[in-house]
């Protein structure tokens, strides 16, 4: 098993009479992109603040990079993009990175700090705005700058709190590439978001939280379960439907759509060939896989039993 970069047990945070986080048990392994999902007010940002030592837990505990929560030296290995990102508006973009490089004592490996800063700026598409004052940046550009700050010097753990909230679709696609490159460079990524499509496209594993509790966690493919393929087919003999049992649980609907639950997606071409061979005329095939959004809505609206891989 890979080393745990984040490992928490029963982490809780109460503000006055409000429970922001009730029982967060979470493990994020080295080298993965981990999605932390939840509706607004679910406790995602509170959890991030506890992990970074910006707030103190009222219950439970855990480790980040092998050190207790809030450990100052462990933060040497962490890059962080806050949800409410804002950087000194009177500094130039390069100066913001120089400040954070100095505060963290960036070890760029073979790179000098200046080279690490240039690389971070180029990575987020701000190389040509490096000497512009941050106060003149759009919100999207400030978020890109925040990403550069978080990724500076290839930290062991990168925590991104809603990293695409201010970005257009092009910017979001860029962020997906940036996150994957950061993982490939050796960082572990904790991606905190409520944008499910973004998370589904880029994350290896996710945890879905609501009201301060983990409702489900695991690999996305495991959480979504098997596919239900729907095929619009006509002229199919009744006995041919029964012969599909080897693919999954088949049922012919009145609308001419055949549903087969539990199909291995790799066998869909074989399934279609079987239908055609039996005399059926295939008009359309819908892989019909449940989306992360479907699962998320079912869990958050309370329609499904929580499950985790922990």
């Amino acid at each position: 098993m890979a080393d745990a970069v984040i490992d928490t047990h029963g982490l809780a945070k109460r503000y006055g009479k409000t429970d922001a986080l009730i029982d967060l048990t979470l493990r994020v392994d080295a080298g993965e992109i981990f999605g932390f999902l939840g509706p607004n007010g679910a406790g995602k940002t509170t959890a991030v603040k506890l992990l970074l030592g910006l707030a103190r837990p009222t219950g439970g505990g855990g480790t980040v990079l092998g050190a207790p929560l809030g450990d100052r030296t462990a933060r040497q290995g962490i890059g962080y993009l806050p949800e409410l990102f804002r950087y000194q508006p009177w500094l130039k973009a390069r100066e913001v990175l120089e400040l954070h490089a100095a505060l963290r004592t960036v070890d760029g490996g073979a790179r000098t700090p200046k080279q690490a800063i240039d690389a971070a700026l180029a990575d987020v598409g701000l190389a040509d705005r490096a000497d512009d004052v941050v106060g003149g940046f759009s919100k999207g550009m400030q978020q890109r700058l925040g990403l550069a700050v978080a990724l500076l010097g290839v930290p062991r753990l990168v925590v991104l709190d809603e990293p695409t909230s201010a970005l257009d679709p092009v910017g979001r696609a860029d962020v997906r590439s940036i996150v994957r490159r950061a993982r490939d460079a050796g960082s572990t990524i904790l991606l905190n978001s409520h944008l499910l499509t973004e998370v589904e496209r880029v994350c290896d594993r996710v945890a879905i939280v609501d009201h301060g509790r983990v409702l489900a966690s695991g690999a996305i493919t495991d959480l979504l379960g098997d596919s239900t393929v729907r095929i619009h087919v006509t002229d199919l003999p009744g006995e041919a439907v029964r012969a599909l049992a080897g693919f999954g649980q088949a049922a012919m609907g009145d609308d001419g759509w055949l549903s087969i639950a539990g199909v291995d997606t790799d066998r869909i071409p074989e399934l279609v060939a079987t239908l055609v061979g039996a005399g059926g005329r295939v008009h359309a095939v819908d892989p019909g896989r449940a989306s992360l959004e479907d699962l998320f809505l079912r869990l958050v609206r309370g329609g499904e039993t929580p499950r985790t891989d922990a």
């Binding site: 707030a55 933060r75 409410l84």
Partner: protein, 286 residues
Amino acid sequence: MRAIWIIARLTIAEAARRRILWVLLGLTLLSVTLTTWGVERLVSLAREGDASEFEVQFGVSQVLILVAFMFSFVLAMTAAFLGAPAVAADLESGVAHAMLARPIRRADLIVGRWIGLVAIVVAYAAGSGLLEIATVRFVSGYTPPEPLLAVVFLSAQAVVLLTLAMLLSTRLPAIASGAVCVVVFGLGWMAGVFAGIGRFFNAGPLVDVAEASRWLLPSDGLWRGTIYALEPPAVVLTALGRGGPAAAANPFFATAWPPTPFLVWSIGWTLLIMGAAAFSLGRRDL
């Protein structure tokens, strides 16, 4: 220590980039020019009117003390409104979150900010104070007995208020911190006046409360040091001879240096408030 110096330099750079230093410099030059012109006119009129040199020197010393009071007020406001947003504004905007997620102590942020702001306030006090004293000397021939100590006390008063504003800004919004600081400064000054009057009338409880207030916030006691450093000894002796305890009630007159225990307390008070600010920010959930 490294993080402290990084934040101190950042604070000074911020003041320069946001034109705070240049605005202060411009206002200082304007104030010094106008007050020097006024002193020159007064001195010329007095000498034309057969005033004795003692009377001229006495008059200039009193005008200089009033000008110093104006600077002390401006410095106090500057200190309060530099110190108040030093932490609160960064917390409100989120700038502090990105920095405090780095491997630095929260106390580093407090101490670094404090050093940077103290450097600005002291430079402003020294620059404006010494320039005023030099120009007044040029037009009147009057030099106060201890110009450097006057600037030291003027700066110390501003540092006291700056430190208080920073403590408040770890828990209160920037505007509230600044407002509280200004009110407390005014109350401290009034406590000094009440203490003098209370002594004249032998009003024990009034003196006790007023004296306690002056120790709770040492700004007025330090202001008295500025006055004493600017007064010619002859003026002090004459005033004491004629007015006695009544003279001590005058908020623009001092009969002696602030006592050594008070000066030691002022340094301890500043360190205590700094420590409280670091503790307060350290215990706060961000």
